[in-house]
């Protein structure tokens, strides 16, 4: 066991971990931040995406020990302290971009990272960026629409909701 320390959602966080402890397990089991989900074991589904030092990362594919000293943001850190949803979160609600909610944290974190890099993405760019996030409920229609809307683009012309 060894000690790991990082900043999670702006607050210091530390714990005892095994060398094999994944970042996602550290977040979920040690810190109790269960918003980050595990949907597969081959780094394909993207339900566990978090931001590490400003980059979107699959938390199932990183050891907790590798994040020693890092700045980590999870879905729990996306809304304002008073609970106001971020633009991406609000767009997901406004455009019904989620159903069961299980893939949603990863989708929101990936979408936020995309908009950081590309504030005005095309539909094709959004679909391409989400290649590593699987949703089984929505058929992606309303997710893509929500991200277009979050970027300030007009979505009223998109085929009937």
């Amino acid at each position: 066991m060894s000690q790991v320390s990082m900043t999670v959602n702006g607050k210091p966080a530390s714990g005892e971990i095994e060398g094999r402890t994944l970042l996602v397990d550290f977040l979920r089991e040690t810190l109790g931040l269960t918003g980050t989900h595990v949907g597969c074991d081959t780094s394909q589904c993207g339900a566990c995406v978090v931001h590490v030092d400003g980059r979107d990362v699959k938390a199932c594919a990183v050891f907790a020990a590798e994040c020693d000293g890092a700045e980590v943001v999870t879905i729990e850190g996306m809304a304002a302290p008073d609970g106001t949803l971020s633009a991406v979160q609000q767009a997901f609600q406004d455009h019904h971009g989620l159903q069961c909610g299980f893939c949603t944290p990863g989708m929101v974190m990936s979408a936020a990272a995309l908009l950081d890099q590309n504030p005005n993405p095309s539909e094709a760019e959004i679909r391409d960026y989400l290649e590593g996030n699987i949703c089984r409920c929505t058929g992606y229609h309303n997710i893509v629409k929500a991200i277009l809307a979050a970027s300030g683009q007009d979505v009223s012309k998109i085929a009937a909701e």
Partner: protein, 787 residues
């Protein structure tokens, strides 16, 4: 309409905020103080004799509390099957035992052999690797027809063969169907495969067993679509726990699509082990484990014949289907290829003679059960493919051929035992032609051809039977359960309301849509109403959510209970205003004496019910809480028409869905935004089946597609925006909301549209391809073009 949204409002979902902020409460988020963890050691061969399980070294590993094997479950019940099919000779199906942990033999890769309970999940996993298992391999069968040959290896030694049942439907129709086919002007024959799929809700299954020795009370937290069904099956048939000592909680559940209906061995195990160890025991499935242990879907091999007269009227349909059950019978497996499939073979058409034969077969594969649509996609795919093939053979327009044969008068009794109460298939086809812009197809085809691509158009119809019911009928057909549902409306003193429902929401948005109905009925804000679901200790006995039944069945129970509330509230209001009950009008949350300005508000009445100082206690009891159980009179019959346009790259065989449109008739709509979302998701799963997904076993029964590296899940860049419409509405005639259900339509209606489009594209390129099996992968399409 209530200010914040009643019936018909696209109210944003109230459940979204917790899911968007990481505040959901999924089963894996639940940790019970003192819990231990179980890891299942699963068979890595498809068929073999369990010669020896040596747990000695594993038991000495760090953190191990106990290792269980099949021997620990002798005398404990097996996993039961909830539906008994009677074969065409009147004999019951063959029903094998299904032990919680394998006993004597393993029958599929993934069959659980031993369970290690340890202090941590990692320790349980490490110890499982130290268990020494000796298995004598037996030949495996995965192909259904091979499994039925004489001398085939038997999956279950105590059964006479691998045939579960040979079912004829309706057996009395057979002679007339044979005669009609014999005398037909034209018969189109199609052999096809409806491939095996994996449901793949994004949340893998989880089960946590807890036990209180003081009260001899069990709690099971589980990823279930129907906690009461699990309580009944596990309590009564597996572990012998009476209902009042067993609580089943299904909290936020991350999708189901059918795969979380069934009672699974892991649920029984954690419940059993929690008592044996007097500690909570938690199991979290990995995705790899899910591929080996979640019930899978579809897997039919079918021959269908469609007979037509000289005027192109359908005269008969005859089908022969082999349906894979896998190694054991999952909870509702036998009803999927029978009563959820044979009953739908009439589709939207008035074919007078129909006979369906289904042979259900055991193989050394993971059990198969209902997956979104369940039997209805299989029926629709056969029928809508064979109609398209017939149209090509006859040189007629496939849409015109469908229109000509539509059922147009309702109610309509089909030759396959169901009666459609209402519908308008011409209207949905008209709407489809409009929203899909079918008139513009040829111009779009020319544009594609300029790019060197083939473009195809596929159109089809579908019908489904939802809200599976009535209990007396399904009982006669072999169901070992009723299929009603229940709701309790609890009005609080200040007028707020909790509605406890038997339905379970795992993505469907019940917490938003159900209050819209009650708010509309009472004329109060929906924000005053909350839905409680998923906990058998809090809700009335309901059958859960599957088969697009929640609103049609449980919603109807909720309406009935609310009607009782209103009836009682009127009596209270009449007393408060010293008026006759018959003179009380109730509108917008106000009770008024007709023709006067005397009124009392909803809150005045509810307060009086709980503070009955001035109250008709000689007539009615205090309080305001009512329960209703609702058993439907019939199925509901949503129907629609779908269109798909594909672009096909003749260099690579890659098919891209360029446009997709769906015109559905769901009857009345409560929340159109949620309905759109349900259709979108269904379409994506249907396109996934048509182009991408395929669960494949090799001849030894090894699963070749056991992860997302191998099983092609539809991703955002595989799919287009969809155009969906549900403005054609013929309300259901027999439930109080006039609703039909929308959860499965997309998955039922879309696969034939895609394949019809692929065949059309190939034909437009001069390739004489009349059928292509799903998934129409680049390799398959390219191969077809070479032939």
């Amino acid at each position: 309409m209530p200010a914040d949204g009643g019936i018909g409002a696209a109210t944003p979902r109230r459940e979204d905020v917790r899911f968007l902020t990481g505040d959901g409460n999924y089963t894996d988020d639940i940790n019970v103080r003192g819990q231990a963890y179980v890891h299942f050691l699963r068979s890595d061969v498809a068929h073999g004799t369990l010669d020896k399980i040596d747990t000695q070294a594993a038991a000495a590993m760090p953190g191990v509390l106990r290792i269980f094997t099949g021997a620990d479950f002798e005398g404990v019940g097996g996993i039961p099957c909830g539906w008994q099919v009677t074969d065409k000779h009147g004999e019951p199906m063959q029903e094998p035992a299904h032990p919680v942990l394998a006993q004597g033999k393993v029958r599929h890769v993934g069959d659980p052999i031993a369970a290690v309970v340890a202090e941590t999940a990692a320790e349980a996993r490490d110890a499982a690797e130290a268990i020494e298992v000796e298995i004598s391999d037996l030949p495996a069968v995965t192909d259904m027809k091979a499994a039925l040959e004489d001398g085939a290896p038997k999956v279950h030694d105590d059964l006479s063969s691998n045939l579960c049942f040979d079912w004829g439907f309706v057996e009395e129709n057979k002679a007339a169907v044979d005669a009609a086919i014999e005398s037909a002007a034209h018969v189109t024959t199609l052999e096809l495969v409806n491939q095996r799929l994996v449901a793949n809700p994004m949340e893998p299954r989880v089960a946590v067993g807890d036990y209180s020795r003081a009260g001899d009370e069990h709690t099971l937290y589980t990823t279930s679509q129907n906690p009461h069904v699990i309580r009944l099956l596990m309590g009564a048939f597996v572990l012998g726990i009476p209902e009042h000592k067993l609580k089943v909680v299904a909290p936020d559940v991350g999708g189901g699509f059918g795969s979380k209906i069934y009672h699974y061995a892991e649920e029984a195990f954690v419940t059993f082990a929690a008592k044996a160890l007097n500690r909570p025991v938690k199991w979290t499935s990995s995705r790899s484990e899910a591929f080996l242990s979640d019930a899978q879907g579809r897997d039919h091999v079918t021959k269908i014949e469609l007979a037509l007269d000289a005027d192109n009227n359908f005269t008969a349909i005859r089908t022969e289907t082999y349906a894979n059950m896998g190694a054991y019978l999952s909870t509702f497996a036998p009803c999927v290829p029978t009563y959820l499939h044979g009953t739908l073979m009439a589709g939207n058409y008035k074919t007078p003679n129909i006979y369906v034969n289904v042979k259900a077969v055991f193989t050394n594969t993971v059990p198969v059960d209902a997956y979104r649509g369940a039997g209805r996609p299989e029926a629709t795919f056969q029928l809508e493919r064979v109609i398209d093939k017939a149209a090509r053979e006859l040189g007629v327009d496939p849409i015109a051929l469908r229109r000509q044969n539509f059922v147009t008068e309702f109610p309509y009794a089909t030759p396959v035992a169901v009666e459609y109460d209402t519908g308008d298939y011409t209207a949905t086809m008209d709407k489809l032609e409009e929203i899909a812009d079918l008139a513009g197809f040829e111009a779009r085809r020319k544009e594609s051809e300029k790019k060197g691509l083939l473009r195809g158009l596929g159109v089809n119809c579908y019908i489904e039977a939802c809200g599976i019911a009535p209990s007396a009928l399904v009982g006669a057909l072999g169901a070992r359960a009723g299929l009603y549902d229940a709701a309790t409306v609890r009005v609080n003193a200040t007028g707020s309301i909790s509605v406890m429902v038997g339905a379970h929401s795992h993505g469907q948005g019940h917490e938003t849509a159900f209050p819209q109905v009650v708010a509309e009925m009472l004329g109060i804000d929906a924000a005053q109403i909350d839905i409680v679901h998923g906990d058998t200790s809090k809700i009335p006995f309901g059958m859960g959510t599957y088969g697009s039944r929640s609103l049609a069945v449980c919603g109807s129970a909720m309406v009935k209970a609310t009607e009782k509330i209103i009836a009682k509230a009127r009596k209270i209001a009449a007393h408060l205003m010293e008026a006759a009950e018959a003179d009380i009008e109730f509108k917008d949350g106000q009770f008024t004496v007709a023709g006067t300005d005397k009124s009392v508000a909803w809150g005045d009445v509810t307060l009086a019910a709980y503070v009955p100082h001035n109250y008709p206690l000689d007539e009615i009891e205090p309080g305001l809480e009512e329960t209703a159980f609702y058993d439907p009179a019939n199925f509901t019959y949503p129907a629609g028409a779908y269109a798909c346009e594909v672009e096909l790259d003749p260099e690579t065989g890659k098919v891209t869905v360029a446009r997709f449109a769906a015109a559905d008739d769901f009857g009345n709509i409560i929340n159109p935004m949620i309905v759109d979302g349900q259709v979108h998701g269904g379409i994506a799963q249907g396109i996934g089946q048509a182009l991408l997904e395929h669960c494949v076993y090799d001849e030894n029964g090894q699963l070749l597609t056991g992860s997302y590296m191998d099983y092609a899940m539809p991703r955002a860049d595989d799919l287009p925006f969809y155009s969906v419409d549900h403005s054609c509405q013929t309300p259901c005639t027999h439930n109080p909301l006039g609703v039909k259900g929308c959860g499965e339509a997309g998955a039922i209606g879309s696969p034939p549209a895609v394949i019809n489009a692929v065949v059309d594209a190939l034909q437009s390129g001069g390739h004489n391809v009349t059928h292509i099996d799903m998934p129409a992968s680049p390799a398959r399409v390219w191969q077809a073009m070479q032939g």
